[in-house]
């Protein structure tokens, strides 16, 4: 992918961790450029490092070496506390299993990121309501996660991810736990967030149907990224 006006730029990103005494390197000297407003799907076999890369881009984890710029900030250089603050305003994370707080209502779950921002209660409530309306759950704000379907829970999770208006959304198998109809709704919603709201989305998926919604599909194969088109060529 072109490095021109990259929103995400990885250079020589390596991640090594230890399983007991054995070093494991799921990512080695990886380069990647993602322009702003792109919907990127990451695919690849289990253990190929997709989620590791996603976590690095989201600031959940830090690379062992290399540089990783997101929106102009080299997050590889940020310390744990700085990364936490950066995440609060720059990235929204969508999990496969939603990760909603069970004792909080949909409204309160969505409100969580905003409690970290210097906003008035009124402004917070307005933004939460807008986010819930955007995901089509304006009328479910008082419901707890246990009172929602899987698709609705994921939409609450998406509302939570977008409520602080981050430029980047990362999604780890966002449709992996949903039926086909709900999965389609979620993917359409993500697509809409890119097209109409200018978000950049990086999504890890095993599902080719989900990947088909993305602008770009990259496969992680043996420590390197291969574009889907390239793969097709190799296959031919």
């Amino acid at each position: 992918m072109s490095s021109h006006e990259s929103f995400i730029r990885c250079r020589g990103v390596t991640k090594t961790y230890h399983k007991g005494n054995t070093p494991v390197t799921p990512l080695s000297a990886l380069d990647l450029d993602v322009p702003r407003g792109t919907f990127l799907a990451l695919m690849g076999p289990s253990g190929s490092g997709k989620t590791t890369l996603l976590n690095l881009i989201a600031g959940i984890d830090s690379p062992t070496s290399g540089s990783l710029h997101v929106g102009g900030v080299d997050i590889a250089k940020l310390k744990r506390g700085q990364l936490t603050k950066w995440r609060a305003s720059h990235v929204g994370y969508i999990f496969q299993l939603y990760h909603l707080v069970p004792i909080l209502s949909a409204f309160e779950n969505v409100e969580l990121p905003l409690l970290l921002a210097p906003l008035s209660r009124k402004e917070r409530h307005r933004q939460v309501q807008v986010a819930l309306e955007l995901v089509g759950l304006g009328d479910r704000s008082d419901h707890r996660p246990s009172e929602l379907s899987g698709g609705q829970e994921q939409r609450v999770a998406i509302a939570r991810a977008i409520v602080a208006n981050p430029a980047l959304l990362v999604a780890d198998e966002p449709t992996g736990d949903l039926d086909r109809e709900s999965a389609t709704q979620i993917l359409n919603l993500l697509r809409e967030l890119v097209r109409e709201h200018g978000k950049t989305i990086v999504m890890v998926t095993h599902d080719p149907r989900a990947a088909a919604v993305a602008d770009t599909v990259l496969h992680l194969e043996k420590d390197r990224l291969v574009e889907a088109a390239d793969l097709n060529m190799q296959a031919a």
């Binding site: 936490t84 995440r87 707080v101 909080l104 969580l112 409690l115 602080a164």
Partner: protein, 384 residues
């Protein structure tokens, strides 16, 4: 920072666990309160029993137990004549000859119905040196009579009906009629039985008395001590009443230490029990905590929220302990060898319980909270 409502709701997430924490913590806090009340009550009664203005003149070598002391019955008049500046009330010097006697009191039920009791043989002059003594019912004992302290029934382990005025009791083989009830708030005297001095001399078959208590006006302790030193033939020693009871209080120090050590051991056990509960409670929330970190909450903010939960639980436990303590322990009489005192659950003791509970909560929460928040985020987000 997470709102307090998050901590409150988490507290009620598993009601059975909340109940366990509140009741378990509450009982430990209750124990702390009772240990403090016990220690303070015992200290207080011994401290209040001695007046700075009173000097006890007793036999040499008996400074630590007036019950063992024997002095001549003539000492009070000789002392009164030799030392000027003693307090006088209506022309009578505040000089009280006394016999302190620990013996058997036989109640109405016959010889089998006997109790060990603390007797004091006195004359009306006792009221001049012990102004805190007030008759609440009946009259001061004359010959053949005895009056009982307000807490004597508790000390004897009998109902108040058993020693009400008019009742006949036996001391040794002598029958005495209970003439009245007195109070002397916060002193060991409230658990005693006061009889006429001569009656008690007869009962004890002694010519001597135990001591003389004098109340100073312009005289000083030295004036009294000089008398005891000049009259070597009488083999006397003088001690301030406050010092005498301070020595007795020191005698009970090991008991107080044992009380606190026991309470400390229970508290230590409770800390580990509490930790265990919180480890279990927080272990199930590792992923939730990781999610909140992913959203942008710092570990510090989350640790504070977890701490809020346990502090709230501790406050509920303290409330439970305070209610139990005030309902069942406040005002309870506790007998010990030289008297009886009332347990008082004061604001200070309630405060100590709350403070102890909060300390327990902090110590019992931080290690489990650290265990919950320590895992690396990628691993924590994948946890079950």
């Amino acid at each position: 920072m997470l709102p307090l409502s998050y901590a409150v709701r988490n507290l009620f997430r598993v009601p059975a666990r909340l109940l366990q924490i509140v009741l378990g913590g509450g009982l430990v806090i209750l124990l702390l309160m009772l240990a403090a009340a016990l220690s303070e009550g015992m200290d207080g009664v011994l401290r209040s029993s001695g007046s700075e203005k009173n000097i006890i003149v007793l036999g040499t070598g008996s400074e630590e137990s007036v019950e063992r002391s024997e002095i001549k019955a003539s000492v009070p008049s000789e002392l009164e004549a030799a030392v000027s500046g003693l307090e006088e009330v209506l022309g009578r010097a505040a000089v009280s000859p006394e016999i302190h006697y620990n013996g058997l009191l036989t109640l109405g039920g016959g010889p089998g119905d006997s109790r060990q009791a603390l007797f004091r043989g006195v004359t009306p002059a006792a009221l001049l040196v012990h102004p805190e003594v007030r008759l609440v019912e009946g009259t001061f004992p004359r010959a053949g009579e005895i009056m009982v302290g307000r807490l004597a029934a508790h000390r004897l382990g009998v109902g108040e009906e058993a020693i009400k005025p008019g009742t006949q009791v036996k001391v040794g083989s002598t029958t005495l009629r209970i003439s009245g009830i007195f109070q002397a708030p916060g002193t060991v005297m409230e658990a005693e039985l006061w009889a006429d001095l001569n009656d008690l001399r007869a009962i004890g078959q002694r010519d001597t008395i135990s001591c003389v208590v004098v109340r100073l006006d312009s005289a000083t302790f030295d004036d009294v001590e000089v008398f005891t030193l000049q009259r070597l033939d009488l083999e006397l020693a003088a001690i301030r009443e406050s010092d005498y009871y301070a020595k007795l209080a020191a005698f009970y120090t090991p008991l107080r230490i044992m009380t606190w050590v026991t309470a400390g051991l229970v508290v230590a056990g409770a800390v580990f029990g509490g930790m265990n509960t919180f480890y279990a409670a927080f272990a199930s929330r590792v992923r939730e905590m990781a999610t909140l970190q992913a959203v942008g909450y710092s570990r510090k903010a989350l640790a504070l929220s977890l701490l809020q939960e346990s502090l709230l639980a501790s406050l509920l436990g303290s409330l439970f302990a305070a209610v139990i303590a005030l309902a069942f322990a406040d005002g309870l009489s506790v007998p010990f060898s030289i008297g009886t005192f009332l347990l008082r659950i004061t604001p200070g003791i309630l405060g100590l319980g709350v403070l102890g509970g909060l300390t327990l909560a902090i110590i019992g929460t931080l290690p489990p909270a650290w265990t919950c928040l320590r895992p690396e985020l990628p691993a924590a987000l994948r946890s079950a």
